[in-house]
Amino acid sequence: MAPFSATIRVQRFNPDTDDKAYYDDFDLTPERDTTVLDALHMIKAEQDGSLTFRRSCRHAICGSCAMNVNGHNILVCKTPLQDVLNKNGRVTIRPLPYLPVIKDLVVDRSSFWEQYLRVKPWLIPPEDIPEKEFRVSPEEVTALNNAETCIMCGACYSACQVIGLTKGYIGPHALLKAFLRVKDPRDAASAERLADLAGSDGVYRCHTIFNCIDACPKDLNPTQAIETLRKLAQKRLAYERSRVQRQRSLQNPIVVD
């Protein structure tokens, strides 16, 4: 594991003391398997303890450490430093775009969480609850398209140009969560959900630019989820009827061929 040298350029800003953001360069001697997050930790421990960023799990499941590296939103914990250095051994790290900066690389995700709550991310179950589990088929789980594994890191939200222009837009993260609920056979509120999602802040705001797909560190597909929601919104009463029909058999074993 031969050491090499790297220069980490970081955007700095403390609104209490700084008029505007500026850059600091830090030189490091990382190892081959040093991640971008490790590099930030090395700077904080050895050079400047005031460098501020969020992190926790360091394996791409908690969603804390989404940042903008060389212009792309990524999770810094799972990104090898080597992969983002240019030929001069330099990398530039900025906070997530379109969001107010709290300090250095820490952004204010308030609008992100407001939109998350707006779509009522919780399941609204049918009235009749079984003694054991609802019966959901493996195919119905597959149709959720892994939306349940979204870690709410905000990489998609702050890569979305519509968010950059229109703060009212629900956003890819919350629409993906809404997709999860609308597609879940156990949810009893799909018609109301689709009515809200078809409103002026919802699915029709998406310009299908695909930035969210590019940014997602978990390889999820918010754009496709939004397209599905659009289609379902156009026939929401028919969809609601099919849900009601499905919920009548939710307590029965799925018939296996």
């Binding site: 403390n14 609104p15 209490d16 003391t17 398997d33 904080k44 421990a45 050895e46 400047d48 303890g49 005031s50 501020t52 960023f53 969020r54 992190r55 926790s56 799990c57 360091r58 394996h59 791409a60 499941i61 908690c62 969603g63 804390s64 799972k78 709290i102 300090k103 820490v106 995700r109 969480w113 709550l117 991310p121 919780w122 399941l123 179950p125 609850i129 079984p130 003694e131 054991k132 589990e133 609802f134 019966r135 959901v136 088929s137 493996p138 789980v141 959720l144 349940e148 594994t149 870690i151 709410m152 999860l180 609920r181 879940d184 156990r186 949810d187 074993p253 799925i254 018939v255 296996v256």
Partner: protein, 597 residues
Amino acid sequence: MTNTETITHDVVIVGAGLAGSWAAMVAAKQGVKDIGVLSKIHPLRSHSGAAQGGIAAALNNVRPVPDSGPRGPLEMVPVGADPVDSWELHMFDTIKGSDWLGDQNAIEIMVKEAPQIIYEYEHMGCVFSRLPDGRIAQRRFGGHSAPRANYSKDYTGHVLLHTIHEQARRHGVKFYDEWYCLDLIIEEDICRGIVALEILTGKLYTMRAKAVFFGTGGYGRAYKITSNAYANTGDGVAIAYNAGVLLMDMEFVQFHPTGLYRHGILMSEACRGEGGYLTNNSGLRFMENYAPDKMELAPRDLVSRSEQTEIDQGRGIGPDGQGIYLDLRHLGREKILARLPQVRELAIDFVGVDPIDNPIPIQPTAHYSMGGIPTDADGQVLADAAGTPIIGFYAAGECACVSVHGANRLGTNSLLEASLFGRRAGQAIAEFINSGAELAPVSGDPDRRNERRIKDIFDNPGTESVEVIAQELKSHMTDNCGIFRDETRLKVAQEKVAELQDRFKGARVMDKSHRFNTDLLAAIETAHLLDFSEVIVAGALERKESRGAHARTDFPKRDDENWLKHTLAKKTDVGPSLSYKPVYVDWERYPPQERKY
């Protein structure tokens, strides 16, 4: 710091992982209106979400194909077939896994209520993996004699955490995201509130409450190689200890057998539950020499010791010989993609190995804290061995010690424990509040005391980096208070912790600002690591036997005559004062036996 303010709630909950979110949700559902939940990171960042393989409950959805042997393929339990699993089996497995240190009355409650809490998660929208007939899918796990790990691919903790957080939101719980609990206010065995730091502004608040709940997580960050998040610095455990609360069984630290080589990142036990092998540098499945019956699905303490023995005897893999291989190739591409997608991604991202094509280099990694704040089965914190309650103080999850895991936890029992005892604590808190509990007065100046503490850290003229002290602690805890222990090494660890505590008094904080000061937080967290590490080492030094995760090479046998008892540690001016209390054993049904796998 700036002037402090007082906030009042009926209930203050610290920590928003599974335990805290359950407690909050249940208390809110039962009519408690005024609940505030603090978390030093956003609730959805909590470490419960990092759990991968499953949550235990004897649902009887899956069984081994009859007559296929103990490691044979699994099938759906046919309609009308006799159940193969039971709470009694789950109970025995948990007791045996705990090396008889778990309290059997608490274990009985947990295993009996387990199926119901899984169904409750399911009714709240949790996305589980499914069997063809629509039931929840189950897999095998180490130390369990039946396939009872209910799972969602290898994202189980993540989906449970999101589900319960959503429901807590649905019931109108108020969250204080990125608020840090600094201190617990207890006077005369009555809890009166906490002191908290709003991380965004650096402002201190006294938060008075009729009831305080701690679900603050474990203490694995005291070790160098760990699966734990940066956040898992055992804050709640240290804060309680510093407030005069006892700590129980702190010497029992679980090392997970499959942490990613050099990183420690969790490779789920589900890898072995699905049939993965562990091999040494000559390709041998060495578990046949240690646990011929259970093989790779022996409990974690035994598998980690077996790996460490292979490594210590020169049969490890990797450039430094400190690794072992986890081989999944024979499971096939389809099964790996369907059941273990996260594990595969992590192996590719962090060590550049695709488990479909190559074995994954792994090593034991500090994973779970069996010890913690002693409670009864309703989350009520206990002030002494006699069971005197600390009125208004509750705890559950990894920071607590009920004790259901005893000397070694079985995989999938932690998500169960955090959920179930969080829920029970929420019910107990609701009863306490609804029966007319009142705010207890706060005397003295807890906020001033904490202002001074922070000012002292800022004004410290020292030059040594906090991070250097933390790193040295982690190295020494790993080397001298790790998988294998003995008196000589434990004494080195004891002296080192004392030295580091002393050096910490001269440690510097570089960031002196009020706003979002993570440098200050790291200093306080390091102080907490030093506080409870002293207790881990003291308990380990005193316990002259080997039981579960506590393996003394100088006392290699379990000693029920002298050591079938819980360690209790109380803070004094000269370090932890140790005492003991009996384990609850049902001598008729589950008397101690030899533990073989």
